[in-house]
Subunit: 153 residues, 4 copies
Amino acid sequence: MGVPDYIEDLPLWRNEFEYFYPVTVRFSETDAFGHLNNTTTFVYFEHGRISFFKQIGLMQDWTKKETEAIPVTADLHCDYMRQVYFDEELQIGLKLNRVGNSSMDIHYMAVNGSGDICFTGRGSIVQVSAKTGKSIPWTKEEKDRLESHMPRR
Amino acid sequence: MGVPDYIEDLPLWRNEFEYFYPVTVRFSETDAFGHLNNTTTFVYFEHGRISFFKQIGLMQDWTKKETEAIPVTADLHCDYMRQVYFDEELQIGLKLNRVGNSSMDIHYMAVNGSGDICFTGRGSIVQVSAKTGKSIPWTKEEKDRLESHMPRR
Amino acid sequence: MGVPDYIEDLPLWRNEFEYFYPVTVRFSETDAFGHLNNTTTFVYFEHGRISFFKQIGLMQDWTKKETEAIPVTADLHCDYMRQVYFDEELQIGLKLNRVGNSSMDIHYMAVNGSGDICFTGRGSIVQVSAKTGKSIPWTKEEKDRLESHMPRR
Amino acid sequence: MGVPDYIEDLPLWRNEFEYFYPVTVRFSETDAFGHLNNTTTFVYFEHGRISFFKQIGLMQDWTKKETEAIPVTADLHCDYMRQVYFDEELQIGLKLNRVGNSSMDIHYMAVNGSGDICFTGRGSIVQVSAKTGKSIPWTKEEKDRLESHMPRR
């Protein structure tokens, strides 16, 4: 299995992660093959993503009752490199790869206690109106805030 | 393991179920011990319960935007009698055991293809206001409708 | 809603908890009514229970390849006292209420950041053979170990 | 949002699906934004995939106790085109896009009751040894069987 096409240079790519969220694999997240079920990596991505959004103040905006703006997932990708088992402690790394007008592209990396990458991923989020479903551009302030969290390249 | 205390006479109790909802055990619902994870029975209970509420017209009321009434779970109980495995086809039986002023007590029974009871359960639902959290009594029409779905005893 | 029947004296009962496991409510664990879905409390119970079993050395025994003994859930109960929302940080308290020959009865309590009890529960675990399904009694050493973790009464 | 890069010609691509698996959106699969949570599409993909594997006889091989061959997910992708709500009935279409020596590439499409595509996806499965983690090539018979299920192109 080669490197996924959203990763140009793996050591450089890995080095850009600054935000990490810890998770411990729950028993209910394993399956009858004895390992982490493939669907759970996306639960970890979402949980880490929201934790990241909270840190930069976006989640607070989205869960306010008076706003109609909500983030929706446009696409999601996961590449599984190493099997993960019950009770492993993983660090889920997140970084902004690109900020669009009303969207952002986020990269993900799960690392185990030995420093091995277990799975990677990427996905776009779009800010839309909960009423109309149309995309809602970031304000200048939001875009600046997001871009300040991009890796320096 | 004896009979749970919400079941007085098992054959009579079993015989009162008239509404059944079919489920097939998903792979992601198993765990590393190779069987159905214990947390999933409550997913089946909820799914069957909502299907039952739809059939009697209550779910449609609760998901209307203009109502503040929502059903909340007051308690839930599950007794596990027989292990369940990937891909088994179960019938989830539901019946109303009691209708209160703003609540109802529901009994559950999961039966496999051989007619064996795999797990049973019970739980109360209360209708509350999403705004205040206070209970909202059934209307006369709703209470009559619910009682018409009680087993004849 | 009164106190569940497995709680005799609420302040005394609450005071007996010594082991706590922290969880933060994930977005994927909420539902369209905006609160924690009722099925997730059992995921927290299981996760806390396993964490407790690990602390006292039982989980390590059960996940060894060479053993046929596995813990199965005999019954589970949850009483919902207070709605819980996205991102709340809860402490899941666990205590052994009774140790049988091959079983144990565990009590659960989820407390929010303000010290309010959000939900409580109880449930029995039985140690069985993965091959025969028959119960396997605790060894003397295991029973002593379990009993040393009972609250002093 | 354009067409994902694994779809060359959307009408042709759509037309190649012959196997469909029905799912109804469960309440516990929604989230506090009121729609299907993004992590659940992968649960549907897995469930449909296994149902497809059963139909062609592969799943039966993999769940036999005496085999060490298990299917693992190498990558997964989902593109979300349309929001999905509680209780919607979806058809999950699956097709084999490519059969490798020990792998296969599967495409997915979820269609609602009006015939609208709600989400699409793709992902590779690799057959590996549960003991060594090394890939296990398909037998000639298995490869022929898989290829007989490829769309004619």
